[in-house]
């Protein structure tokens, strides 16, 4: 059982939750309030859903050996675009206006993802550089759209996406579940997953073997953009406003972290969507825990960094071997030292 790749990430999540249970016994209590469930666990799922979405897209991109730094900016752009078009509508709560805004935002996010894919797959720019362009320029575009201001919308229908509830659960959870199922089915029940891993292992070899590696890459970056776009809608509708300056800031780093905690290697070729899910939940649980425990803001990042470091170390077979007193030779498998710097 300990050999299972999800074992250690899940252990960390359990430890985090146990800590909360001891610290505040109410942590697991879930009550009915105004027709929806209310409790810390629900909060974690609700606030964690944008991160899970972005991380799902990021997992596939990383599986092809790439990386997408632009997701945070795409989050800001789509939120801004949706709020702008709703605020321009005559009836902000009109179904057509809201659906139109969501449609525009999603098409835009897919187009932005496609742009990344185009730069990487067709032009051959290194993924980190190609997506860095949109990361920097995208924030500027978002600020252009919002004119540097916070756009507030008064639209219960739009707010429903990120803050409404369906069957007593936050609606956002259903969106995430749907995207997760779609991604899992597409990659594990069709050959697409195999293609992605093949491209990640060796693009040239996979192309010679008959895989259209460029098309696969284009599709993967577009999917990542789309995921970031949906996340942007969730984030902006949750607070009924779009903030081009701050929405999705540093999201790419959290998403990469979630992917790596979940056991996907940054070198590409292998990916674990379920691991990513657990990774994103660990990050969100950690954030919520820090707020609940009342860690002073000055040392919040240090606490986060220490936990992430511990997560990475505990996942490293070599490190565990050292702890047991019989050092084992072999490469670090899942832990990536680069991750430690971010929290």
């Amino acid at each position: 059982m300990m050999k299972h790749r999800l074992f250690w990430p899940l252990m960390v999540l359990v430890v985090l939750l146990l800590f909360n249970l001891i610290y505040s016994p109410d942590f697991f209590s879930i009550k009915m309030r105004d027709g929806h469930l209310y409790g810390s666990l629900i909060d974690i799922l609700n606030f964690g859903s944008p991160l899970i979405l972005v991380a799902i897209g990021m997992t596939l991109v990383i599986a092809t050996g790439g990386i997408d730094l632009s997701v945070g900016s795409v989050v800001a752009i789509t939120g801004a675009m949706a709020c702008l078009s709703i605020s321009r509508a005559n009836d902000q709560n009109g179904l057509v206006a809201v659906l139109g805004a969501v449609g525009i935002a999603l098409v835009l996010s897919a187009a932005l993802g496609l742009w990344n894919g185009f730069l990487v797959a067709r032009i051959g720019i290194q993924p980190i550089i190609a997506t860095l362009i949109l990361m920097v320029a995208g924030r500027g575009i978002a600020q252009l759209i919002t004119n540097g201001q916070i756009i507030t919308v008064l639209s219960p229908k739009y707010q429903y996406i990120g803050a409404g509830s369906l069957l007593t659960l936050p609606f956002s959870i259903f969106i995430v579940a749907a995207m997760f199922v779609i991604a899992s089915l597409l990659t594990r029940k069709t050959a697409l997953g195999l293609f992605i891993e093949a491209v990640g292992c060796k693009p040239t070899a996979s192309r010679l073997a008959g895989v259209r590696s460029r098309t696969v890459m284009l599709a993967v970056y577009m999917f990542c953009g789309l995921c970031a776009g949906i996340a942007g809608l969730l984030l902006s509708s949750n607070v009924s406003s779009a903030d081009g300056n701050n929405a999705g800031l540093w999201y790419e780093l959290d998403a990469i972290l979630a992917v790596v905690i979940g056991g996907t290697s940054l070198t590409g070729g292998r990916f674990y969507l379920a691991g990513t899910l657990v990774g994103a939940l660990i990050i969100q649980t950690l954030t919520t825990t820090i707020y609940m425990v009342g860690v002073p803001p000055e040392i919040t990042l240090v606490v986060k960094a220490l936990v992430v470091l511990a997560v990475c170390l505990v996942q490293s077979e070599k490190f565990r071997g050292l702890l047991r007193g019989r050092p084992k030779a072999g490469p670090l498998q899942t832990a990536n030292p680069e991750v430690k710097r971010h929290a």
Binding site: D34, Y38, V239, Y291
Partner: protein, 352 residues
Amino acid sequence: MNSFRRSGLILAASLMLLFSAACGGGNGAGGNDKEPANGGNQVKQTNAESNGEQKDTSSNKKITLGFSQVGAESGWRTANTKSVQDSAKEAGFDLKFSDAQQKQENQIKALRTFIQQKVDVIAFSPVVESGWDTVLKEAKDAGIPVILTDRAVDSADTSLYETFIGSDFVEEGRRAGQWLVDQYKDSTEEINIVELQGTTGSAPAIDRQKGFAEVIASNPNLKVIASQTGDFTRAKGKEVMQAFLKANKKIDVLYAHNDDMGLGAIQAIEAAGLKPGVDIKIITVDGVKDGFVAASEGKINFIVECNPLLGPQLMQAVQDVVDGKEVEKRIVTEEGVFTSEDAKRELPNRQY
């Protein structure tokens, strides 16, 4: 592609700046040279004056003010910009406005351009606190007085600038605390306060926390039971408030360092089935439009204004500096406080 277009625009803008700077220098020098020869003949110089580069030593001259703004990152900042532009027009000053887009290098360039253009006074809101000594010294050597607005610099040599006009963040915190002390002066039970801080390490966050803590210390029943940063944003304010509500059984008061975090927290409070402003009293700082709307609905109980409309005070200071009068080293902007009732009354008059 967009980045190209942007940099293209910036390039074009800087070229234009350079061009106008060159013109300005020429015109200014020309005007000054002509001055003694032409004697009292002022009429012919109206052309140069309308260009705004004219530097004249007679008493009815038009003052040129170079103003470099931080950027346009919020409604607050936009209102600040508009106030400066409007009051400059009203005062009959020639305003040269430059937007630094949150970058110190842009701002330093703008200040150097102002120096080249030989404006009468330079005013600016520094993007960051440090790194200004060199360019301020250049201005001083050129004999151009500098006025800081809204944000301070950390230069040890205070002779580099004439005055600093801006809000007193500590005082804002004190006012927020004072309202709370007055509200609960007869209360005997403990009042639990949660605090949403601004961005960790930023001057408003530090000072607003300090001033607030200082005043509420007078009443031992007032206790801050949780304090966490909300990064001045709605999303974070909501997320942190949700956690506060779960972690603490009884919260009586929320103190948010800006309106936006307070607005996010209001959504969290409503989601918890509580009534913002009634079950939990809410105090915020800033007084932006959305905050005023919430206050007029009774969701925010008390707003301490952080006034961006410092234009008139700035123009007064500019006039005083040019006239050679002594100005205070620190001018605090005139700021009000608003309860829900005040907010309802004031809402139609709010400019930002």
